[in-house]
Symmetry: C2
């Protein structure tokens, strides 16, 4: 089997005005859809980060991809994820996921790996999770992912989407948003994006969420490194008082040293709430120091930038060996990414928390999966009894996504610029903010 | 695809009277050959440790194996390798590889995984290394593995094998043995089994080997935990003086604490010779403490007891992340194991040393691979352009192996008993001996 065609589709998808410490989501999020076609006509697909740089990185590999055997291409390209020497540190604090040039190789490799696995799965009639070791679960749990947000459903002008969830800039509105999301998708846990309002308001939001949803729903907060060590400890204390030890605190402060200091001070107060990260630890090279400092107790994997599904499986085994938890990071995405996330999670025994997903924030109008949006039922994505990722492209929808990409000016994600454009002309990302 | 038949073949293969700190190899080494047959008539094979206990462990899984899809069986059985909680410590110092009850699950799982991968590879027409991420090398380097030995080629009575290498109980005889092995197989590095004679004689053996072979041939010694910390440091010093920093010292002392002490003392003398282990670290659960103590700098993987090929790949990624080297352990084996070792090594980027193999010690008379022994050329096994492991069973030879198993009384490996039987009736394994 040989790969005879590579098609790269940059698309733009409507995205609501969600807030985080990075700033504000633009009206369109960018994604790249990759197709590999084999000489026997099988097409493998993948979805990854978007924008012109990602397209260029994939395009640059065309000579290696065309003519390759999809079973072997991942081995041939493995220097992109293994790097030289002990592994290349890739962590950075300021850039949004997908815009860190240090993980361009692992991101690009991951998209190719997923498309190769899809082509293989479709050619042999097996789901992707069963090609990479075999599923350990058929249903993959995801979390509700509430955000503070402005009014609006994403998109611009006559391409604007319905604002399904409305404005949410207060604890009460956030609770309503979560209840709406749970009613629709049945999520059994909450990952709440903080770092946007005063910490006291965010603590109050957690309290109201906890009281509205009941103690059986795990709650976690991710302020994207917006807090000082003092604030992180204060929120950690409030979280522990309210939740009685459940949940975790994700990237409260920036960098391994401050994370370690937060951890030490919480432990000194008898609070064992673990710290999670997808900022202080984003590559294998970050782990030894993190372990040494006990800075991060839960690593958020993401096959999109960790270098693909198999690297996530390696990461999970490493995490388990060192007594670390594993959860999954998400970025604005459509159904092809959701299915890839579900497949790798299905084939990763040591997945200790429900995965994140932005999927509820995207609209059916933008979905590129044939047949429409992937169902999330009782908070879970079920691995379908279909080969490969279990989804095919809807080429009309894909063309619309490419059309939006061409029509609107967004070429990279820049939440800071959006914040200045729509909220506060003087806004800058300052860490720590509180 | 469903597995419709499981066949377990316990075999005995002639093994020369090799010496180690465990004692003496018996006239027959034991192996188990596993066959899985699918409903479309494809047969997947694997070779693993031998003896009645191994047969029972495989047999016990028959209900889960029959009817299973080979793509999914490895996921279904993954609790056997993932264990509960943070992972189960499995290291022990006294038992020979294959006889540690703590790794019975990972050993058994590995054999099933390899047979499943072989069945998959044969059904889709792809080599195993390309099913597990894709090869990063076509040729896998192995080391010569000289042993002190008594006269004899293995086997008993009229089933005795030719003594190809003769007795080797002195430095000069050992050098001759290595030269003979290099002439035949082209090995480019030497892993020398020590822990048998007085350390001064073993140091002299290393010196003579180094002088005979030249500085371009890496030399390492493995006394299987036979030495005190003092002796280990003394040998480490002599090795460094002779080799100028090349090579490594494998399991000089027993246990992580003594290994760490050897390391500290060598480093204090400015000697950076790394310590390797397949005794102090034999499972993922052993690694955190080893890293903390800097006890082991090179882990010897072995898919046969680490839980299969994918677990070895996880281990390699972990090792790379923590700046550890990776080599491969071996046990007396035939061509099916050799090919499995070659496939996993081919698909493991972070393999930093040539692999061990006992293969030169086995005889063509015992080989179960159709067409005879797997070629080792210029010290390397080449991944053949054939599906699966690239080898098929010779059923006549397999039947002969089963016949020997039935005829001779060996049912588990017991090098201590053999030592008492043939060399010294009072012999006991004492650690440390020197």
């Amino acid at each position: 089997m040989q790969i005879t065609a590579l098609r790269i589709h940059p698309i733009a998808i409507a995205d609501p005005p969600l807030r985080s410490s990075y700033g504000l989501h633009a009206p369109y999020a960018l994604r790249t859809v990759l197709e590999l076609e084999s000489d026997d006509g099988v097409v493998g697909i993948a979805e990854t980060y978007g924008g012109d740089a990602q397209v260029r990185q994939l395009e640059a590999l065309r000579p290696q991809i065309i003519g390759a055997n999809p079973y072997r291409l991942t081995g041939f390209l493995s220097p992109m994820v293994e790097g030289q020497g002990g592994g290349d540190a890739r962590s950075q604090t300021y850039l949004v996921p997908g815009e860190n040039p240090l993980d361009a190789n692992t991101r690009t490799y991951a998209a190719i790996e997923v498309a190769c696995l899809d082509i293989i799965g479709k050619s042999v009639g097996q789901p992707v999770c069963d090609l990479i070791g075999g599923r350990v679960r058929d249903e993959v749990p995801f979390s509700a992912y509430p955000f503070y947000k402005h009014a609006g459903g994403g998109g611009e002008g006559d391409d604007a989407r319905e604002d399904e969830y409305g404005e949410a800039l207060s604890p009460a509105a956030l609770v309503k948003q979560v209840q709406q999301m749970i009613a629709k998708y049945g999520f059994g846990s909450i990952k709440f994006k903080g770092g946007v309002l005063e910490p006291e308001i965010e603590i109050e939001t957690i309290k109201q969420l906890h009281r509205a949803l009941g103690p059986q729903v795990p709650l976690r907060i991710d302020p994207n490194s917006a807090w000082t060590v003092d604030t992180s400890v204060r929120v950690g204390r409030a979280l522990a008082e309210e939740l009685g030890g459940g949940g975790y605190l994700e990237d409260p402060s920036a960098g391994l040293d401050d994370m370690a200091e937060v951890r030490r001070r919480l432990i000194a107060e008898g609070i064992s709430t673990p710290l999670a990260s997808n900022v202080a630890v984003t590559s294998f090279a970050d782990i030894p120091r993190s372990v040494q400092l006990d800075a991060v107790q839960i690593i958020l994997c993401d096959h999109h930038y960790w270098g693909g599904m198999r690297q996530v499986q390696h990461l999970a085994r490493l995490a388990k060996s060192f007594g670390l938890g594993l959860s999954m990071h998400s970025n604005s995405h459509l159904g092809v990414s959701l299915m890839a996330m579900a497949h790798v999670a299905a084939a990763t025994p040591h997945l200790t928390y429900a995965c994140d997903t932005h999927y509820p924030w995207q609209s059916a109008k933008d979905e590129i999966v044939l047949g429409g949006r992937v169902p999330i039922i009782a908070g879970c994505v079920r691995i379908p009894d279909k080969p490969g990722l279990g989804v095919e492209l809807d080429y009309d929808q894909l063309a619309r996504g490419c059309g939006r990409y061409a029509r609107y000016p967004y070429r990279k994600r820049d939440d800071e610029a959006e914040m200045r454009r729509h909220v506060d002309p003087a806004w800058r990302r300052v860490l720590p903010r509180w």
